[in-house]
């Protein structure tokens, strides 16, 4: 290996980087072909070569190597771009991408992130679907802190730097919906409305709402395509952007009110912009509720209803806590309408999430959770639950009967024949009306025991063991 290194050291930085890329392709590609099952890991020396010659992290303090110029860096990005574009094998692409950009918990990670940000930004600009798809997977398997950084690069490039370029980002939704789904998760993690700076820029908001209203199923894309058995690394983004978006919708009226307060003291308020954003949040909120309804259909089809918490109760608790803190910050007299709007949305989301099986918790839990919040009629109604009435002629609302609106999509989650017996009660379809006796409300979906009993085929043949816990604390 050191032979290769010595040979590379003699080359100019760009051709050395190209050589490493070529070397990676050969060695990983052949390894993948000879053993198609578990994905081959990377040996230490290869990782070192990548870090030294592609990310320019010097191993040997004694050797002062010539660094790549900006032009050469751009050329390298172009080479990577065309490499991923031309590599026809999805599995090899994935392996190479994680070999390059999988975080190693060392000092090269910063450089990695920097190159990744530039590469993805370039891929967006020239619409390189293979790279975006790889980036989507990366966003799924990487700690949210890194994901947020990538999101920020893209938001800076496309929303802040050149305001008009947002349409470029907007348009990639049809090209790589998976990437967009993950990007939404990342930007909602980035902009959590905890401060004015962390309020989503209007252009970003508009783009996200545009994507979702175009096709709300986008929000469930990662969820539907993720095998239940695949253990996701700790600290990674949530499997759907639903919680993040819900945070936006619920907190937005309060955050804008808070923002208004600070801008009033600063002097100017752009009321038109605020009005536009209000409308966008209202649309977004409706979409989130509609996605819950779709989720119910999917969960019912997969016999997962009541067994899989798509919305984590802990996250809900955090949101409730944040709302409560924001309410405290605002003067209830001046912000009564905003507070009621936020609580209406919260109550609606909680109710619909519970009813559709996205959130597994009882009304009792809810009462405890929301006890600190100010009074709101709807929230009250949701906490106490509907007045039980004798069931009339027809059964509970069953959206799954309708074949045309929600066509069954092939899903990697099937088959689940063994679950049939577990869900014998017809009321199980409606947890809001009759909660299950045993409540796996607080269990994350990956720990569901029945799924370990059998092993459905994962959608991606690539699933490196080395990537299972790629994140190590940055030293």
């Amino acid at each position: 290996m050191s032979d290769i290194r010595h040979a590379l050291l003699r080359r100019d930085p760009l051709s050395a980087a190209k050589e490493v890329l070529y070397h990676l392709d050969i060695s990983l590609g052949s390894a993948l072909q000879s053993a198609p099952g578990p994905t081959p890991g990377l040996d230490k020396s290869t990782v070192d070569l990548v870090e030294e010659f592609i990310f320019q992290v010097s191993k040997d303090r004694s050797v002062q190597r010539k660094r790549m110029s900006c032009v050469q860096e751009l050329q390298l990005l172009e080479i990577m771009c065309s490499y991923f574009q031309e590599q026809s094998k999805d599995a090899i692409r994935q392996v190479i991408f994680s070999a390059l950009f999988g975080l190693q918990g060392n000092k090269a990670d910063e450089s990695r992130m920097s190159v990744l940000g530039k590469l993805v930004s370039m891929a967006v600009a020239v619409c390189r679907v293979p790279i975006l798809d790889c980036a989507a997977t990366w966003l799924q398997r990487t700690h949210s802190a890194w994901c947020v950084r990538l999101a920020r690069v893209l938001v800076d490039d496309y929303c802040m730097l050149v305001p008009c370029s947002i349409s470029t980002l907007q348009n990639i939704c049809s090209a790589s919906p998976r990437f967009c789904c993950q990007l939404i998760s990342a930007v909602t993690a980035l902009y959590d409305l905890s401060s004015d700076e962390l309020t989503p820029p209007p252009a970003l908001l508009e783009m996200v709402v545009g994507w979702i209203t175009e096709d709300p199923r986008l929000l469930l894309l990662t969820f539907i395509n993720t095998p239940l058995t695949s253990s996701l690394p700790i600290g990674c983004l949530e499997v759907t952007p639903l919680m993040g978006l819900l945070r936006w919708c619920v907190k937005a009226p309060l955050a804008y009110q808070r923002g208004r307060k600070s801008t009033v003291t600063n002097g100017h308020v752009d009321t038109e912009k605020v009005g536009e954003c209000e409308e966008l949040y209202s649309k977004l909120h409706l979409s989130v509720l509609q996605v819950f309804l779709m989720l119910q259909v999917h969960l019912t089809e997969q016999n997962l209803l009541g067994r899989l918490a798509v919305l984590q109760a802990e996250s809900v608790a955090v949101l409730v806590e944040e709302v409560s803190r924001l309410v405290d910050e605002l003067n209830p007299l001046h912000a009564a309408n905003e507070i009621q709007l936020a609580l209406d949305r919260l109550a609606q989301a909680l109710q619909v999430a519970m009813a559709t099986g996205a959130l597994l918790c009882t009304r009792e839990d809810l009462r405890t959770l929301c006890s600190r919040l100010p009074h709101n009629n709807l929230l009250q109604l949701v906490m106490s639950g509907p007045v039980v009435q004798p069931p009339p002629h027809s059964g509970p609302f069953q959206p799954s009967l309708y074949p045309y609106i929600h066509p069954a999509r092939p899903s990697p989650l099937s088959p689940h024949a063994t679950h049939q017996a577990a869900l014998s009660s017809p009321h199980a379809a409606h947890p809001a009306l009759s909660p299950l006796p045993t409540h796996p409300a607080l269990s994350p979906h990956r720990s569901l025991t029945p799924h370990t009993a059998h092993s459905p085929l994962p959608p991606h043949t690539f699933h490196p063991a080395a990537m299972a816990f790629p994140y190590r604390p940055i030293r």
Binding site: E279, S282, K283, H285, L286, L289, Q290, L293, D344, R345, A347, Q348, Q351, V352, M354, A355, T356, N377, L378, L381, V382, G385, P386, V387, V388, Q389, P391, P392, H393, S394, P396, F397, P399, L401, Y402, P403, Y404, I405, H430, A432, L433
Partner: protein, 740 residues
């Protein structure tokens, strides 16, 4: 709080928000529905929001839910009624389109269920049928169950309502919509008798539709009517509405083609001989003509099946061709004729040989006819009006001015095909009785247009006695259709019958009756300015192909064409008498000379023959001579007759009462005429200063004649047709009386 209270609260919040923030309103309702999934109010509100915003997919989705979950809610039923009504009618407005779209989003079984339930709620037969039709069209499998019963209910409704025309809404629906579904459904096994019945119902409808009269409802007449056409009195609106249907659904495109399709399918299903699906009407006729030859050898069921096929096919071909023929001959009878430039035509005896020598005609005409009669003696005597066997149908020609009737070949071909079908239908007793049954059922006796065809056909067959009675029947049908026909043109159409009567009487040798009818016609005509070049050119062409004298001619039914025909016919009547062997009838000869002026010099030969006859007799008395003879050649000839060289013929031509004739602008013309004729200098004796001359004033008979001649020459420029028209009107009594 009660459940209803909760629901009301939730719906109320949604309603408050819907205009300002429709997304929030929907979010409220989605939440509400998860709380109270069985509450109708919440879901209905959701539907209403989507419906009002005209969002097809989501409205359809919600309608589906409420239809499934709340099938007994009256509000749902009201909504379904509105939607199915939009489906039924052809309203193109945006909301109707939206409602149709909503229906389209529903799954098939739900559509089916909705339509069936909506049908149950209809009490009006027509609506119910339209609703059921929607069902049958969408779900062909339901045709087996509902098709025939729907058809029968429509036919029954038609009976119950006692409608006087087959072109009614029930029949239209049956024929155009239900019947194709029934006969094209291969799952259905229907008895041949039923299929025949249905096919005849369809034929009756399509024929009735095609031959419907112009609508007389002023409200429905097209705007172009108001613009003031030549004959605004005749309802010629292009729009047509079947009572109970919209204007759009009253339209039947390509009726004959549709009918042919039905015949093709029914024929195939009834296993007709040689039926390989419909092709053309000509082929239909061709096939049954062949089939007819085997008829005598058949019996029992095969015979009746064959008869069914022959009668059906020939009947349809007969009516179709007859309709095409009549729509050219009398276009104003029908709805869709082009009111501009479509003149009616009348079929009459061809008289282009009227100027031929009497002798030639006699020998060729009568003789040829006798011979033919002998030859035909053994053939079936279907045209044996014995006394008038003037020209039997075979081989008669129908002449027509080809430039004036552009589709002449087609028209004549249709006339021929119709006659052929008629003959076929009367070639066998079994066929004839079947055909008569159809005629009785369809009340063809009351079809004026068909009577017109029949009359022409009978005339063509040479059965003039029968034709005359047919014309009487026609006039019985006439009044109710021509109520509002008051103009000259439509009068002429009414005179069609008279013209044909005259023609028939002439053909029968009943010259006096012929003249009576003719003179009645002439009194209704307005003489036009002569267009000598055109008419003589046509005549010239005809003369080049001499006919045997028993041809027929289609003449445009206009004053311009009818007056010449009348004059020819009169000439034909008088000619025989005037030149009768042995006898002497100066009056008839005088009439002939007057009439020969028309189309001069066609009648030159005949005129010379008349002059010969006068010379033979040595004298000639015709007191109307100077009233009606203005032809310069004739005047010259007569002037010459008086001279020594001419044979000093005794001419008594002066009218028994003086005629005051004003001379005016014709001076110049006359003098120019004289310069051309200077060699007959007898005329140039005097100037034309004497404007009025009367016999009583004196210088003797000779002077009177001379003056009369002078005066007459000056009349050469008068409109000849006016002169002859006046002749017909003024001398009507003498004319009629001078014929036997």
């Amino acid at each position: 709080m009660s459940a209803q209270g909760d629901c009301d609260f939730l719906v109320k919040r949604a309603r408050e928000l819907v205009t300002e923030d429709p997304w929030a309103a929907k979010a409220w309702l989605i939440t509400a529905r998860t709380l109270y999934p069985t509450d109708f109010g919440i879901q209905y509100e959701m539907y209403i929001i989507e419906r009002n915003a005209e969002r097809t997919t989501s409205a359809g989705r919600l309608l589906y839910d409420i239809f499934i979950n709340f099938p007994d809610q009256p509000v749902v039923w009201r909504e379904i009624t509105v939607i199915t009504a939009a489906l039924r009618n052809d309203n193109q407005d945006k909301h109707a389109q939206f409602l149709k779209g909503v229906f389209e989003t529903l799954p098939g079984p739900v559509q089916c269920q909705m339509l069936l339930k909506a049908t149950e709620q209809c009490f009006n037969t027509l609506e119910k049928a339209e609703m059921l039709l929607l069902l049958l069209k969408r779900f062909p499998e339901s045709v087996v169950q509902h098709g025939v019963s729907l058809g029968e209910s429509l036919l029954e409704a038609e009976n119950v309502e006692d409608l006087d025309t087959p072109v009614n809404c029930f029949r239209k629906l049956f024929v155009c919509d239900v019947l194709p579904l029934i006969i094209n459904n291969m799952e259905m096994r229907l008895p041949a008798s039923l299929l025949h019945k249905y096919m005849h119902k369809a034929a009756e409808f399509y024929i009735g539709y095609v031959t419907r009269g112009p609508c007389t409802d002023p409200q429905l007449q097209g705007p172009q009517e108001v613009a003031g056409l030549k004959s605004p009195g005749i309802g010629r609106g292009q729009r047509f509405v079947i009572e109970g249907l919209s204007e759009k659904s009253s339209v039947v495109t390509e009726p004959w083609e549709r009918l042919l399709e039905i015949v093709g399918v029914v024929g195939a299903r009834c296993e007709w001989q040689g039926e390989k699906g419909s092709r053309t009407y000509t082929e239909l006729l061709q096939r049954v003509k062949e089939l007819c030859r085997y008829l005598p050898g058949l019996e029992g069921e095969t015979l009746s099946r064959c008869c069914g096929q022959i009668v059906t096919c020939s009947t349809l071909v007969l009516f179709r061709s007859a309709h095409f023929y009549v729509s050219t001959v009398q276009p104003s009878l029908f709805q869709n004729h082009n009111s501009l430039g479509s003149t009616p035509w009348v079929l009459v005896e061809d008289l282009s040989s009227v100027f031929n020598d009497v002798e030639v005609e006699r020998s060729s005409g009568k003789h040829a006819h006798k011979k033919r009669k002998l030859a035909d003696g053994r053939e079936k005597t279907m045209s044996s009006d014995d006394e008038d066997a003037l020209g039997k149908g075979r081989g008669r020609h129908i002449l027509v001015n080809k430039t004036e009737m552009p589709g002449w070949a087609e028209t004549l071909e249709h006339f021929r095909t119709a006659r052929e079908s008629w003959d076929l239908l009367h070639s066998h007793d079994a066929l004839e009785s079947e055909f008569n049954k159809i005629c009785l059922a369809w009340k063809t006796e009351s079809w004026l247009w068909f009577r017109i065809f029949l009359t022409d056909m009978i005339m063509y067959q040479g059965q003039y006695r029968k034709a005359l009675s047919s014309l009487v029947q026609m006039s019985a049908l006439q009044p109710q259709q021509s109520q509002n026909s008051l103009t000259a043109a439509s009068n002429l159409e009414m005179h069609r019958a008279l013209i044909q009567q005259a023609s028939c009487h002439y053909a029968l040798g009943e010259h006096r009756l012929a003249c009576e009818k003719l003179l009645e016609v002439v009194s209704g005509l307005v003489p036009q300015n002569q267009e000598p070049t055109k008419s003589s050119e046509e005549q010239g062409r005809v003369r080049n192909k001499p006919r045997k004298g028993n041809d027929l001619r289609l003449v445009p039914c206009t004053s311009k064409d009818i007056l010449p025909f009348c004059l020819q016919l009169m000439l034909a009547c008088f000619k025989l008498r005037a030149f009768a062997d042995g006898g002497r009838d100066d009056l008839a000869l005088g009439h002939v000379i007057v009439l020969l002026q028309h189309d001069w010099p066609q009648g030159e030969a005949l005129f010379l023959k008349a002059v010969d006859k006068i010379c033979d007799h040595g004298s000639f008395q015709y007191e109307n001579f100077f009233n009606y003879v203005t032809n310069i050649d004739m005047l010259e000839e007569f002037a010459y007759l008086r001279t020594t060289e001419g044979g000093r013929v005794q001419l008594e031509l002066l009218p028994n009462q003086g005629m005051l004739i004003k001379q005016d602008s014709s001076h110049a013309f006359v003098s120019s005429l004289f310069t051309k004729h200077t060699h007959y200098n007898i005329f140039c004796l005097h100037s034309f200063r004497h404007h009025t001359v009367t016999r009583g004033i004196t210088k003797g008979v000779k002077e009177d004649f001379r003056l009369a001649m002078e005066r007459q020459v000056s009349r050469c420029g008068e409109n000849l047709l006016s002169v002859l028209h006046r002749f017909c009107i003024n001398e009507k009594i003498i004319l009629v009386q001078s014929l036997p």
